[in-house]
């Protein structure tokens, strides 16, 4: 009925929406905060027990435990703040002060969510601690024996240098090689058809081959051919060749996407000024394309860094290989943990650096 329809509309227009009541939500947050305080206390007590059975005693450790136990008290503050705000909202509503009620209610919700968020993080942390000390610190012993880490650190760092050299060379080479392949794939015209064909076969092949197989084939295969040049190459150089071939294909795909993303009008503008195909690539298209694809290029670069750990299949003594030797001597994986930490340590700054580069470039585009 049109009649009732418009009446409903009228009615809806006259009654403003009331703010959501945050009281129950705040109460949940408070309960959660209290249970987490208890849980944290219990877990820290458990840690203390474990320390006692292992005859480990240190003032700093005890202080740390107490400190951690106190942390969740902060949640009490935020939860009670939320509770107070939701009370204030209810009071304001009774006094028909709708605007104040909305403000308080929104505050109440914000703080309740805040409590929930931190409670979740704390919960994860507690689970991690429990996992770590489970079965009388089995996890901790297996992966994080500090004395073993300290003992093996020098050797592993030395071996890690091999990884660094390999990925620096393979990185630079595959960045250059990938660009060459991408341009070959995009060459226009009939005469370039065979080149395009070869480039396509190459990328297809190396995108589908697992890098470990390429390393194996090249690292073992090329010296076996008996060709003097390959026989005399150090294994590390062969590893660089293998990684360059594999990651060159990945880089080529990224470059190609970047080159194709440049609008044809940029080609037209450049060619119309009399610049040749090559000059247009060099001065107009490639610089713009590379700016856009720095993040995916770096992702490939980092992926390749990680794959340097695969060179142990042909017997290169890299950090991982060294760590495995140490680990099998010690019957303990702490040395491998060291390698893992090293990889994390070198990767994080690179990601940050690229974020910065991209940001700076964006800023320059804006302000000049």
């Amino acid at each position: 009925m049109p009649e009732t329809g418009s009446n409903l509309k009228e009615a809806r227009r006259r009654t403003p929406t009331l703010p959501r009541d945050g009281f129950r939500f705040a109460l949940v947050a408070l309960l959660l905060a209290i249970s987490l305080i208890v849980a944290t206390g219990a877990v820290m007590w458990e840690v203390k027990q474990t320390m006692a059975t292992n005859l480990f005693q240190a003032l700093w450790a005890d202080c740390l435990l107490v400190l951690v136990t106190l942390v969740p008290l902060g949640l009490l503050l935020t939860a009670s703040h939320s509770l107070r705000q939701s009370r204030a909202a209810q009071l304001a509503l009774q006094k028909d002060n709708l605007i104040a009620a909305r403000v308080h209610s929104s505050e109440a919700h914000t703080w309740a969510w805040f409590t929930l968020g931190y409670a979740g993080a704390l919960l994860l942390f507690l689970l991690l601690v429990l996992f770590f000390i489970a079965n009388n610190v089995a996890v901790g012993r297996t992966f994080f024996q500090l004395p073993l880490i300290a003992d093996s650190f020098g050797l592993i760092l030395q071996a890690f240098w091999v990884n660094v050299v390999i990925f620096l060379f393979a990185g630079v080479f595959s960045l250059a090689w990938g660009l060459v392949v991408a341009i070959a794939k995009l060459l226009p015209g009939k005469p370039a058809q065979p080149i395009r064909f070869i480039a396509t076969i190459y990328t297809d092949a190396f995108l589908s081959l697992p890098s470990i197989i390429v390393i194996y084939l090249i690292g073992f295969g090329l010296p076996l051919t008996g060709i003097p040049f390959f026989r005399n190459l150090p294994l590390e150089a062969l590893a660089v060749v293998a990684l360059t071939l594999t990651y060159g294909a990945y880089m080529a795909e990224v470059y190609r996407a970047g080159l194709e993303s440049i609008h044809p009008s940029q080609w037209a503008a450049s060619r119309s000024l009399g610049l040749s195909y090559g000059q247009t690539l060099r001065f107009v298209v490639v610089p713009q394309a590379v700016r856009r694809i720095i993040p995916p290029l770096l992702n490939n670069f980092i992926g390749m860094q990680k794959d340097t750990a695969l060179v142990n299949v042909v017997g290169v003594i890299d950090a991982f290989n060294q760590a495995r030797i140490i680990a099998s001597n010690d019957f303990n994986l702490s040395a491998v943990t060291t390698v893992a930490l090293l990889f994390i340590l070198i990767t994080i700054p690179q990601t940050r650096l690229v974020d910065r580069l991209v940001e700076r470039d964006r800023a320059r585009f804006r302000q000049g």
Binding site: S265, A268, A269, G274, R366, Q367
Partner: protein
């Protein structure tokens, strides 16, 4: 023999015949305006003259020299024929000055100092000296378009092609671009411009060509085309323009 001769040019995109035996002659120091409904092939014609599109039949001659067909050095042709597009097409990763310097230094092998002095002179002329180090996206549309014109002028072309260069501009920015074109026309620059600015065409054009269905349907001095068009299709087009308040 005319300065630029377009003879029976046929241009197809696949099966779509865009230019259907088009003829056009341009004398030195002439300003020729191409008008006509959207999609009639104005841009395509200009791109063919600049060698950005290949033609299938006919030929184009500049100074009597054939500039279409196999064996033509397009890079050399383009030093003599400049083109400015509707959307500005400046290089976004280069400053205004770098945009202007690129072709003179890389193509003409002009010494950098000389090229720079010349570029700054051109920028001074359009009042954008202070924007030399700015990047294109920091300029207004009108400023970008004037830089694009100056970028083409830096190559000292014999012929300048302008493809609806004010169509993407806000109305208040159109005049600054047209003023520059007016100056160039007075200096004797040979230009072909595709345009919807009928008032401007009437003022500066030596010849107006109405294009329709891939040929020049009617051509003549502006007074004739605008006030005494002979063909029915031209009259229809002009009355639609007048309705839109553009004449």
């Amino acid at each position: 023999m005319s300065f630029l001769e377009v003879k029976n040019v046929v241009k197809r995109f696949g099966t779509n015949e865009v230019l259907r035996g088009l003829n056009l002659a341009v004398e030195e120091h002439q300003v020729v305006c191409l008008i006509g409904p959207s999609g009639c092939g104005k841009s395509t014609l200009l791109r063919c003259v600049n060698g950005l599109e290949e033609i299938q039949e006919g030929e184009i001659r500049l100074h009597g020299d054939r500039i279409t067909g196999p064996g033509v050095d397009l890079n050399v042709l383009r030093r003599d024929v400049g083109i400015v597009f509707q959307s500005f097409n400046l290089f976004p990763h280069m400053s205004v000055l770098q945009n202007i310097l690129l072709a003179p230094i890389q193509v003409l092998r002009m010494p950098e100092a000389e090229a720079k002095a010349k570029a700054m002179g051109l920028l001074r002329r359009i009042g954008l000296e202070h924007k030399a180090q700015a990047y294109p996206d920091q300029l207004s549309g009108g400023q970008q378009q004037r830089v694009a014109i100056v970028r083409a002028l830096a190559m000292e072309p014999m012929l300048l092609l302008l493809d609806e260069i004010t169509s993407a501009l806000d109305p208040e920015l159109v005049s600054e671009v047209l003023n520059l074109l007016r100056e160039l026309a007075h200096e004797g620059m040979t230009m072909i411009l595709a345009t919807h600015e009928m008032g401007f065409a009437r003022e500066v054009a030596s010849k107006v060509c109405f294009m329709h269905q891939g040929v020049v349907h009617e051509e003549g001095p502006p007074e004739q085309i605008f006030f005494n068009p002979q063909h029915e299709r031209t009259q229809q087009f002009l009355s639609s323009i007048i309705e839109a308040g553009r004449l």
